[in-house]
Structure formats: structure tokens, C-alpha cells
């Protein structure tokens, strides 16, 4: 269907339910994991507050090889994300980018007249943009960002939800002009809830493969919620820590350290057989992290990432032998540890990365 006959593409100037005015269409290519099934807009609320509007574009599904399936998946994903965002809002999850409003707008003049939308908090940037121009940004910002993301994941886990797509572009920064900007975890499009099944729950790699844990890359995704989904979040949190201090993804470092015959694009055996070698490569990758991290926190940071990125999803986490909590993947100690590291860094004179 032509975009001109589709309301989803023609919302600029319209007032959405809740008195949100659409101000600008965001022209952007499809993202890595979501496909090209949504249109984004800048919106303004009744009091002039900014918002980010995500509009579901079902028409693209009609051109898919299996339209019925794609429509079903899209609808399911949208409803799941909307419900989850509502839940996050109701629970006042402070480190998750929550929905300000959601609903349906009907514009009869278009052939595809009714479209669903969700309005989210607007961030200033994602973490990549904040760090791009800022070698001088002190380590506190990075540590505080990690602390905020860990807290966000902890909040999600406590309501029985796993994010599964934690990556730099989904770490959104608010008040970036402040010396201590705030970070929140965005994009719950690939999240899973323990009690509600969504189609993408069955994918081996749910989120962006670039940040996926190795068991997913080697197609050995566990079945149970803990090792399959919570452990995935832990790995991605460790990967984010690596990225913030090296500007390289943990999986790129692993790929470099693994002999080509052992990496996930070539290995044809089981994950159990290669896991030990992945662990060995991780050890070397962590030395790269150590070399890039400030000396004052390097040891703590490396040990944190070592625990978070353990190639064995059953052992992932920071509880240590004999200390694993009942939930297995509780983030409490990680949040505390990151808070402590950030506070320690805050007490020192501001310092950029080495």
C-alpha cells in the first residue's frame, strides 16, 4: 500500500488522543531487530512536554511472504510491549523508559485509517552519542550509567520480565547537559514476561545478535526462564560495561580472540564442547578491558564483567560459589557493587579515561 494512503505515515500536525500533537516525522532506517514495522514521530504533550511516538505500521506486513503470520506476530508484540510498558508505569520503574500514553487514532481520510501508537519519554540521546565526543567525560558517568541500567534490569526482573536486548542504542540518556546525566533502559520490544508468551520468545536469538550471549550465538539457548532470559540480560549488562570503557563490544573482542575454527560462525559442534574455549577467549578479552579501564577501578570492573559474561549461563552472575540466591540471577549485589564503584569514583577528582 502506498504510504500516502496510510495514516501511520501521515500524522504530522495531527492531535492524538490525550492531546499529544505530532510535530515531526523521524526518518530512519529499520533497526536491527525490530524490522521496518513502525513509524516514529516527535510529539508534544498538552503542557508542551516532548514525547517520542512509535506508530505501528501494519501495512508492511501485507508484503511479507507470510502476511498472516507477520500480522499476528506484530499484533502480539505490540500488545505485549504496550501492556509491559503500562505495567512498568504502574509500578513506577524509574530506570525504564515508560509510556506516557498509548491508544488508537482513526483518520477516516486514509485507506488504512486506524493506527495504534505508543508515546514514550523522549531522551536526549543514547549512550553512544553521549560518549562520542567525550573522552573527557569522567568515569563516574560511565559507572553511573551502568548502575542505572543494572537498576533498570533489576526492576524489570522483579516484575518477572527480562529485557533481552540491552545494547548501547537502547540505553537512553536524559538531562545530558548535566554533569551527572541519567540513563534509562529503553525498547521493551523484545522483552519477555515469565507468565505471558510472545512469538519472539521462541527465537534462539531474541535481541540483536551483536550483543547476544554466546549460548545464543552457538544456537544452544537454554529452555528455562532464568538461564534463557535473565542470564541473557546479565551477559548484555557485562557487554555494555565492556563497550563503555573500550568502545568495542564484548562479542567483537571474543570473536577476535577465538580461533576462526572455534567461533560461532564456523563451529558446527555443540556449545558444551566449545564453551571452555569461549571462556578462555573471554579471559583474554577482559585483559583488553583492563588495559582501557582506569587503574583505580580496572580490577573491580574486570571481575564484574567476568562474572556477568560467564559463558555458562547457569553460572552467570555475581553471587559467587555457594552464594547464589534463590532467584539465581538476582542483580542486587551487582547494583550495589556498581553503586559503590560509582560513589568511590565520585569521591575522586574528575578524571577521563586513560
Amino acid at each position: 500500500m502506498n504510504d500516502r494512503r496510510n495514516a501511520a505515515h501521515n500524522l504530522v500536525g495531527k492531535v492524538l488522543p490525550g492531546e499529544w500533537t505530532v510535530t515531526e516525522k523521524i526518518v530512519r532506517d529499520a533497526d536491527a531487530t525490530g524490522g521496518n514495522f513502525s513509524v516514529s514521530y516527535h510529539v508534544k504533550g498538552p503542557n508542551g512536554e516532548p514525547g517520542f511516538c512509535k506508530v505501528l505500521d501494519l501495512t508492511r506486513a501485507l508484503f511479507a511472504p507470510d502476511p498472516a503470520r507477520v500480522l499476528q506476530n506484530l499484533t502480539e508484540s505490540y500488545n505485549a510491549e504496550r501492556d509491559l510498558l503500562r505495567m512498568c508505569g504502574e509500578r513506577r520503574l524509574s530506570r525504564i523508559v515508560v509510556a506516557l500514553h498509548d491508544g488508537v487514532i482513526v483518520l477516516p481520510e486514509y485507506q488504512m485509517a486506524a493506527v495504534n501508537f505508543i508515546i514514550l519519554e523522549t531522551a536526549d540521546n543514547d549512550i553512544r552519542g553521549l560518549l562520542n565526543h567525550s573522552d573527557a567525560i569522567d568515569i563516574v558517568v560511565r559507572l553511573r550509567c551502568l548502575h542505572h541500567v543494572a537498576t533498570g534490569l533489576q526492576q524489570l526482573h522483579k516484575i518477572g520480565c527480562a529485557h533481552q536486548d540491552v545494547k548501547p542504542s537502547n540505553v537512553l540518556v536524559f538531562n545530558s547537559a548535566d554533569p551527572r546525566p541519567e540513563s534509562k533502559v529503553g525498547d521493551l520490544g523484545r522483552a519477555s514476561h515469565q507468565t505471558r508468551e510472545v512469538w519472539h520468545d521462541h527465537l534462539d536469538i531474541v535481541g540483536d545478535p551483536t550483543y547476544a550471549p554466546p549460548e545464543q550465538l552457538y544456537r544452544a539457548t537454554p529452555i528455562e526462564f532464568g538461564p534463557r532470559r535473565l542470564a541473557c540480560d546479565l551477559y548484555q549488562l557485562g557487554g555494555l560495561a565492556c563497550f563503555l570503557f573500550t568502545n568495542w563490544t564484548i562479542n567483537a573482542l571474543l570473536m577476535r580472540e577465538l580461533h576462526p575454527s572455534l567461533n560461532w560462525t564456523n563451529w558446527t559442534g555443540t556449545y558444551a564442547d566449545v564453551q571452555r574455549y569461549v571462556g578462555d577467549a573471554l579471559g583474554r578479552a577482559l585483559e583488553d578491558l583492563r588495559s582501557c579501564a582506569p587503574k583505580s577501578i580496572a580490577d573491580d570492573l574486570v571481575e564484574l564483567v567476568r562474572a556477568l559474561c560467564n559463558p555458562d549461563p547457569a553460572l552467570r552472575g555475581y553471587s559467587g560459589p555457594g552464594l547464589r540466591s534463590a532467584s539465581g540471577y538476582a542483580l542486587d549485589r551487582i547494583v550495589t557493587r556498581l553503586d559503590l564503584l560509582a560513589r568511590r569514583a565520585e569521591s575522586l577528582p574528575p578524571k577521563g579515561l586513560p
Binding site: 565526543h133 540483536d208 545478535p209 562479542n251 567483537a252 575454527s261 577521563g352
Partner: protein, 506 residues
Amino acid sequence: MTIQSGIQAREVVPWWRSFGAAVRSRELLPLRTSADRVPLRAGVREPMDAFNRDPGPYTAGDVMGHLIVAGTDDGRAVAAKELLLSSSQAEPRRRLSERMLAPRGQQTMDDCPDPELDPERTKRRISLLRELLTREPRNAIRWADLARAYAEFGQKVKARRAILTAAELAPNDRFVVRTATRAFVHLGEPDTAHDLLLKSDLLLHDPWLLAAEVAVSSILDTAPREIRRSRRIVERREVAPWHLSELASALATIEWRAGARKRARKLMLQATEEPTDNALAQAESVAKDGLIEIAPEQMARRRAFEARARYFARAGDAEKAAKYGMLWLAEQPFDTDPAGFTSYVAAAGIEDFELSLQAAEAGLRANPNYALLLNNAAYALINLGRLAEARKYLDRASGVSSDSDDRAVLLATSGMLAFREGDRRAGRKLYDDAIAQLQAPGSEVTVLLATMNLAREEIMMGSVDGLDILRSALRAVEGSKDADVHLAWNRLVSSLDALSVRLGDS
């Protein structure tokens, strides 16, 4: 005979390689493909879009991360690469980017064989590994590597402790179990090696471990416990020939020793369809018996150092045998076989006594009380005119030698030393005593080599007895089929030519 190779009956015991070398050798490849691989989607549009909007190290790193992880770095991201490598980046991260974006090369920890056999390099490696293991105490791979590095220095107690730790941490890992097998054989504990193999869950279906079980059983002189399973796996050919190469080779060796040449030949041919370096060396070691002939293209395999060393020794090309012997020694520096072989070939074949000494001393670092290597080092030193140093080696050797043949060989080398010190009478007596002690069956070649050396020493002293001894040796040489004998004879004739001595002239 005053120098010898000391090569023992060869078994297809796994090679003891570092982890990096083992991976490169392809012996850790999976037996079967578990699932069809769907290529990962790079999903690079969003990061590329972000980079184009806001070029910087973090958007650039995200772009490159996507391309590297998907294995599709196809040159789309030139600007991102340039930015990551630009001098404006902070130094540690720029260096990391240089490494990340450089063509794949040698890894720091995954050492290649060091042809210089530099002990300082091994010391550095030990230091690195120990440091790493304080951070990763459960890394079985690096415990195994540490054991190997200790073994290179003859620190057997430490090597044993390290390899035992590795085996306890990873009893079902092919690399670790095979490495531990070789290590315990080296440490003189083949029974421990066998126990480890039997305890491993992998043994029942992994031909790489079954091959080790057959080889270790041969050393223990017992029937392999899984021989029927091993035969079945080789016959069924359900996995690629590469994976069956060592098992077929080990079984062929058993059949060959039992005199079943037809079965042995069939198995050895299977072993060499797509051979490992180990299986190829085994095939070459039995080739002199005419069991099979190895195709030249197989011998040209990049790392078939042992096979090539043995092949050129058999073909009478001592120079190449010594060259590949050194590479074999560099790959297995803890092992007495390559050190003995190379020190022997370099001395007896091409009279390169510096090389012979280097090989013997490298072997002695790992095996300081190995009488044969002490003897060979002394032999090389005598020929280099460093008589006092040679005396020290011989004294050390006499203190550790318990084998009667070893003692006889040491007597002969002491005889040579006496000749060179100008004491012909003592030298002659020591040689005669040595030859008298070497009268047991199977010592004929050793006696002949000792006799030739005695003849040369006598001739060099201007004694006419030397020519008589030489004439008597010639008849035995003509009747011998042993390549070492002919190699030594040709070398002796050349050196006497240099002294303008002509057989029969007098």
C-alpha cells in the same frame, strides 16, 4: 658408537601441543555437525545510520562490532575504521582498535614453535600463564599449557601438579585429556594416563581419545580396553577420515607388531587418507619396513616436521633431516626423541656439531638426567674441541646412567675424549670395553658405529691399526641395511678423504 639417536619404538601417543597449536592443528574440530548454521544477520543499518548522523568512536565501535560479530566485515565501514584508528583517540583504546582491525595474526598466548628454542621465551610464557591463572584458576586449558611450559624446563613436579589440575577441571575435554595423556607418559606414569582416559566420558565415542587409549595400552603392554569399540568405529567410517586418522594408525601399529601386515597396511592406508601430523610420522616410522609408501604431497604438509625428519633420514639426506629435526624439537621441546634424533643426525650426518649441541642442550633442559643426551652433548663438544666441558657432561652422565647399553655408549664417548686428549692407550681400551659390553643381540648396529669411530680416532692418531679396523668394519657395513650405518660410513669416508687417507692405499 659414541653418539646415538635413542629413538624408541614409536606409539601414536597424542602430541603435547599448546592450546593454540592444537587448535591450529584442527584436532579440536567437532566430530559431527550438530545443526545447520543460519548465518547471523549483521543488522548494521541502525548503527551505520547512527554513525552517519553522529560520527564518533562509540557509534563507530558499534558499527564494527556488528560487522565483526556477524563475520561480514566487507569494507562497508571504511570511515568507522579510520575514525577508530585516528590519533585523536585515547591511546589504550586506539591500540586496542589497531589490534581489532589488523589482519588476524599470531596470538600472544598461543605460541608457535620457537625454532631458536629460546629458554627466556618459555620463562616469559610461564610467568604470563601463572599471572593469568591467578585470575582464572579454573581455566583448564591454561593449566595444561603451564604444565607443558614447566615440562620444557624439566620441572616435572610442577608440570605434574599443573596437568593434574587441568585434568581434574576438565575430565571430558578432548584437548585437556589428550594433553594429560601425553604429559603422564612423558612423566613416566602411563598407568595414570590410562586411568584418566578410562575415566573420561568422551572415551566411548571420541576416536581421538580411543587412539590415545590404544597407544598408552601398548606402552603398558596390555590389551586396549576399548579395542573392539575402536575397531568398530574405524570400520564404520561414520566420521571424516581426519578424525579417524590417529585411531587407525594406532590400530595399524598393533597389527604390524603382531605380524598381521595385511591388516596393518589396510589400517595405515586409512590412517593416511587425511592424516594428522602424528599419524603421518607413525606411517613414516614403519615405512622403512615397506608397510606403505607415503605420497610426497602428504609429506609436504605444513607442520609434518617429525615425518619429514624421519623421511629425510631414511632417504640419506642428513641436512634436511637435521633441519626438520630442529623444527620437530621446537614443537615437542620436552621430548627426548626429537632432541636425540636431531643431535645425532646433525653430528653423525653432517658434522654440524654446534647444531647437535644445541639440540642436545635443548633436550637436556627438559630432561637433565637423560644419559643419551648428555652423551650426545659431550660428543658434540669433543668434536668442537671443548674437551673440559665434554668431560663434565660425561661425568654427569655416568652418575645417572643405569642402562648397560647407555653405559657402553658412554664408555665409547669417553674413549673418544681420551683419544682427543692424546691418550691413545686409554682411548683404545675404553672403546674395546664398550664394544665388548655391546655383544647382546640387537646391538650389532651400535657395535658397528662404535667400531667406525674407533677406526677414525686411530687413523687420526696416525695408527695403522685404524685401517685394519676400518677394513674389518667395511665388510659389516656392506652387509648392513641400516640407514644410520651407511650414513655414518659415508661421513667417515668423507672425513678421511679430507685427511687424504685412501682405503687400501697402504
